[in-house]
């Protein structure tokens, strides 16, 4: 619990770390209707693809220095020495980032979704999907940034983005399922299953990588 509290303190005091990505997300959601002729049909057609890609890019932006700062000022090496359970710290760090950045993005995305499609029922279905998928993105991008810790975030993103493309494909299927009233909960369960595997494994992998970095 204390670890989560500390991570909250660190992230909240660094406003560019969390406010920046959320504002970028809002800006993207505002900017894209300007690029299409304002007709409802076209907006609705492209809305969800913009939503997923915006969420993906913003999470990528948000995780950019999730470990870099702690690595540079030596906090990570203190963690590695003091606590045996490094992967727990990393898991809670990712969780805090998701809570502070991923959850607001999901809620804002849902609001935009309801606003564009003018169907409140869509919102109820999209919100859980957004919550789960942003958490998955958060984990995978953290992994990428841990890999390329001192080499800039471009490399890590380049290397981990391919891993996320299957998730994007599933998200596309989810939208089709919602539109045609098909098997929506099946996809949500699939995403949840992927998420549960990821939150078990990714923190362990990241802690292994970070120990290798500290060596």
């Amino acid at each position: 619990m204390q670890v989560i509290k500390f991570e909250f303190l660190k992230l909240l005091k660094k406003s560019r770390g969390w406010l920046g990505p959320i504002l970028v997300f809002i800006l993207i959601m505002i900017a894209y209707p300007l690029t299409v002729e304002v007709s409802d049909v076209e907006l609705k057609q492209s809305f969800f693809s913009i939503l997923w890609i915006a969420a993906l890019l913003v999470i990528m932006l948000a995780t950019e220095d999730i470990f870099l700062e702690d690595f540079n000022d030596g906090t990570l090496e203190q963690y590695a020495i003091l606590q045996k359970n490094l992967s727990f710290i990393i898991g809670s760090k990712v969780f805090v980032y998701w809570l502070v950045i991923g959850v607001p993005i999901s809620i804002i995305g849902t609001i935009f979704c309801v606003g564009t499609t003018s169907q409140t029922a869509f919102g109820y279905q999209i919100l859980p999907v957004l919550l789960v998928s942003t958490y998955i993105f958060m984990n995978v991008f953290s992994f990428g940034n841990a890999l390329s810790l001192t080499k800039g975030s471009v490399l890590g993103t380049l290397v981990t983005l391919p891993l996320l493309l299957p998730i994007l494909i599933i998200l596309g299927k989810v939208v089709v399922a919602i539109n045609f009233d098909l098997n929506y909960s099946g996809f949500l369960l699939l995403l949840l299953g992927i998420l549960s595997i990821i939150i078990m494994i990714i923190p362990m992998i990241i802690s292994y990588i970070i120990r290798a970095h500290l060596e």
Binding site: F143, L147, L155, L158, P162, L163, I169, I205, Y208, A212
Partner: protein, 228 residues
Amino acid sequence: MFQVNRAYPYIFYLSLITYLLSIFWGLFLTPEDFVQGNSYRIIYLHVPASFISQSLYLAMAIASAVYLIWKVKLSVYLVRSIAPIGAVTTFIALISGSIWGIPTWGTWWVWDARIVSTLILFIMYLGLISLHDSFNNNEKADKFLSILVLVGSVNIPIIKMSVEWWSTLHQPASITLSEKPAIDLVMLYPLFGSIIGFTGLIACLVILSSKLQIIKREKNKSWVKDYV
């Protein structure tokens, strides 16, 4: 390594001859396909390449697991040397596939799951190459490379299953172990031949590439100096 060296010319010439003969067979001796016309002959070049590009990733995944568990240095050299070759074969598979698409589908690119996942595989190979070139500490780079290969290996079953998941233009795999082949036997023999020959050629490339890798990494050891 010395045994491999001695066997190398045999493997090379044997697989070269097998490959060329089966390509010849496929291009000139088999009848024309009823539906696709003569363009189907690309299958003898396309299928071996796409088969190998996936198998190479599997080999890399196994080698990196071996490295992470038992710390066998040789296996991580293998991972490093396979990555560029995998990129080349995936490139061949993509290019030959899209050229084949022009006469059969009327378009050179489709957003079909299997094609896209092959493209992802290609990008992943390139990412692996860029990752291991960007670290100055070799042992660190080895570790990260093998972790990434293992994590990336979840993509391989997705490539395999994608055709069943999304039914689109791409035909399902022509050869499966369990079912009766979907194509005529006359066309199948040269296909097998070309797969075997191509595998042999790629194996030769892997041998050369890992030889380069070993010499590069162990250049201070006395046996390498004796060898060269």
